[in-house]
Symmetry: C2
Subunit: 594 residues, 2 copies
Amino acid sequence: MAHYKAPLRDIQFLLYQVLGAEHHYASLNTSETVTRDLLDAVLDEAAKFAENELAPLNRSGDEEGCELDNGRVRSPKGFREAYQAYTEGGWPSMTGDPQYDGQGLPHSVSMFVTELITSANMAWTLYPELSHGAMNALMVHGSAEQKQRFLPPMNRGEWTGTMCLTEAHAGSDVGLLRTKAEPNADGSYAISGTKIFISAGDHDMAENIIHLVLARLPDAPAGTKGISLFIVPKFLVNEDGSLGERNHVSVGAIEEKMGIHGNATCVLNFEAATGYLIGPENQGMRCMFTMMNAARLFVGVQGLGLMEAAFQASRDYAKERVQMRALSGPKAPEEPADPIIVHPDVRRMLLTQKALTEGSRALAYYAGLHTDLAEFQEAGEQRQQADAMVDFLTPIVKAFLTEAGFESVNHALQIFGGHGFIRETGVEQYVRDCRITLIYEGTTQIQALDLIGRKVVMNQGATLLKFIEKMNACAESAKQAFPEHAHKLSMLASEWGEMTMAIAARAQEDPEELGAAAVDYLMYSGYAVLAHFWLEMAVAARQAMESQGEDPYLAGKIETANFYFQRLLPRTGMHKAAIEAGKAPLMDIASDSF
Amino acid sequence: MAHYKAPLRDIQFLLYQVLGAEHHYASLNTSETVTRDLLDAVLDEAAKFAENELAPLNRSGDEEGCELDNGRVRSPKGFREAYQAYTEGGWPSMTGDPQYDGQGLPHSVSMFVTELITSANMAWTLYPELSHGAMNALMVHGSAEQKQRFLPPMNRGEWTGTMCLTEAHAGSDVGLLRTKAEPNADGSYAISGTKIFISAGDHDMAENIIHLVLARLPDAPAGTKGISLFIVPKFLVNEDGSLGERNHVSVGAIEEKMGIHGNATCVLNFEAATGYLIGPENQGMRCMFTMMNAARLFVGVQGLGLMEAAFQASRDYAKERVQMRALSGPKAPEEPADPIIVHPDVRRMLLTQKALTEGSRALAYYAGLHTDLAEFQEAGEQRQQADAMVDFLTPIVKAFLTEAGFESVNHALQIFGGHGFIRETGVEQYVRDCRITLIYEGTTQIQALDLIGRKVVMNQGATLLKFIEKMNACAESAKQAFPEHAHKLSMLASEWGEMTMAIAARAQEDPEELGAAAVDYLMYSGYAVLAHFWLEMAVAARQAMESQGEDPYLAGKIETANFYFQRLLPRTGMHKAAIEAGKAPLMDIASDSF
């Protein structure tokens, strides 16, 4: 079994020596300033909780799964107690508004914590994470009365939340949904329909569950323009905040799935369930995107969390497992064979994981800090730009980190060889758990269309250009220390910009050109962004060594940057060639010819 | 649930219009000539068996798994009956020697059948497949008496076989194994030790199981030079061929694993079990490779079988599932949305699967036909060259087809979206089942070292050059019909040769350069070989259309070749760049810096 250790040194190196987090938090208009001491204390506590409370339940939760017993969902052994400890630790309210019993910390902090708890136990983490998304939507779109009624118990962790979007025939195309909302005499609505794939849809860990449900009002326009968002509590809530009768929402089934068995992914039946409109009529998509955009960043962080956990497991195994001699002669002559970390291809797989994981963390945390800048600054151009940067980076974080995550956890499994296919070692669970991250909250394909369409072309490339400027500045400042990497980065920055303009030009004549380029463009963008952060990390490591002296940890950052630039970055060439081939090789073939 | 249909038209197009199978079989020295009628009849019967008997048991076998009940393994419901039907159909003896109740068909035929039955049910297929490997080893290395005693019941399917190599501490490094063989007074041996990961290690489908076990004689040299191969029957066999007492081999456990749940992967305990030496003392590795080389080709074919099944499922789904409108405007205006096959990226994923699957089949079947040439020709240069070609292609078939397979089945899952993560649709099982193929019978890493080390450098590139000649000839003959592809193929042929020489030169100074290049070299080689076969297929399709007229099926071959050359082949550039980066980015980093 793998033993997860929260990568605090990596996180601290990144936050304080690369991303300037101390300055960042000091610049925010938050009720309480996040000092380095505070942040370190939060990370330490989260690390302990993840390592000691959640990690031990990861495999047992997978083995047991959730059970539907007489209409009630039973979560795996220990999940309830861990959730109890989580609420006692005050974690659910971390980023909540102090007006509603929240602690008012910026959202980035919650992102860091999410990485740690996901590494330890992704299935468990989905319970509080869905809650977090629902709370965001309530906070932004709820009426004062709704916030007052629902947010405090959610901040206290007594109630959790869900997001109910998907229906059997409406997945990526949410506009096809059929769930109905009929007005009741008292101003509430009767919600009727069946939702599927509802993560944390029911459980025995909290007193109540607040479902946020997309549904159609009578005579609503077709498609996404006729969707509204409703609050549907599992138990109705009385005026005084106490729980009333059971609402007419029931669990039809727990889905049997490939992974995240510890999370109850439910089919939920709404049978004239009482719901309350949140936000304006027919504006449900906009409200949903409030939840969704945050959720997308967090799914990217799930990919990151799983990569980190699997990387640690395979790295430790590669140092212990002895098998064959190094090609350059015995390295552990006293042993019957050498540890497999001596073999070049084992190193290639480890370095791929390390480069993708740490590069992904830099990207995710950079985006996370920008969510703070978009929230805790005076309104104005800077805040707008931060918001645009979050918008631009969100599909990359969501799709690239999960695609890289799936590659990465599979390298981990491969390093374990046959033992990796056996459940006992725990790595195959990472592969199964990770697989959903490429799908839910918008598939890689949906993210790719969002990036190239809304976030780049519709934005006239403005935010992309901001990032390209940043790459050029980084390349310029790294010219002395890492001339080859700096050169590659600046060439890449130009190429990315030119390629984008070429796609946009083609797409003006034919919108299918966007679709044909989208996924390769997203992957290219991911590698480009990671190149930037790897050069930043290499520079920071070099500077740290200049002041602190040689250190294998810091040397490892520089070596991994070398690996990234020399052995991973060439993947951009493949994506570029695929993009330049255009739509013809995809669209020319008739459906019947497949 | 997916409905698998054996791709008979694809197989026939490939065999008769691309690979010249009629001429091939006519040229062999077999007891009975394989005519087109005979081969078509075999394929038809195999298709029926796969579709009707095996496919319906695929998901139930996965759900039920195997159980260990009082020391006996119970296979999933229906597996035993399907095996009964298989033996009644005479399938086990298909390629067996007629002297021992075999039918004497060339091995390639068994490869085609294996594809079909693996697509339908990989876990089930492993039971007869392991038998096949054991029979090969007995045929080549057994004494006349051993063959006479063991082969006829195995050909009749009454007994099955296994290969017992791996021990907990000896996986890729089989030389570390510790199982002992002590001589008994009667010329037999007492075998003691524990083997793990034994596919089809025990079951209730046949009367007896013939284990082929690697073990060490007393005072045997250390490492692979001190390993011998033994026949260890589950039930001892009397002089008259009847079953005697139970041998001292028992099932310690059935491994809990990620996939292939329908196959009993066993821990086997040998406690002074009676065994019989097969082949010379301390020559067990050579004997093992007889099993292993055939098994490696067949594992490649498993990758192929799973790709085909998953491709079919996702293609059919993409034509049925409606979700969003085409970017170029509605294609099915009468429906609430268009079938997802209109979306460019769904097509990219389908075409990737199609190109990898059909290209892989061409490679595997080409290698399969060469196994015939290596066996059923007069000894001489041609036979030797065929043997060398099989040796050269085996690691590519094994590793590339399984790596491509895993990519491909994941595209299938992605096309299903959230429904793909749910067990009911069956695609997630393909992903779980496929994952082991990249590991067992030698990981991708082991295959890659075998290819670049033994099969290319030690062979002075002789067989590689033969293949390159073939590519150049193909490019030359396709110059008129497909000038761009032909040009790319001939450039690729030169590049492959030059890159190989450069690696060999670097490796003379430093053997770790081989290890650092190996996996990228193997993947490059796979894409190069598939480019060759895609051009051959495009040429054949064009020729067929010239004589038979337009046909969406044949047009699809040409479109897929276009896709392959334009959108997949650029992957070689990424592998080339990684190879050229050499060992430094992998080996410079200290173990402690990971």
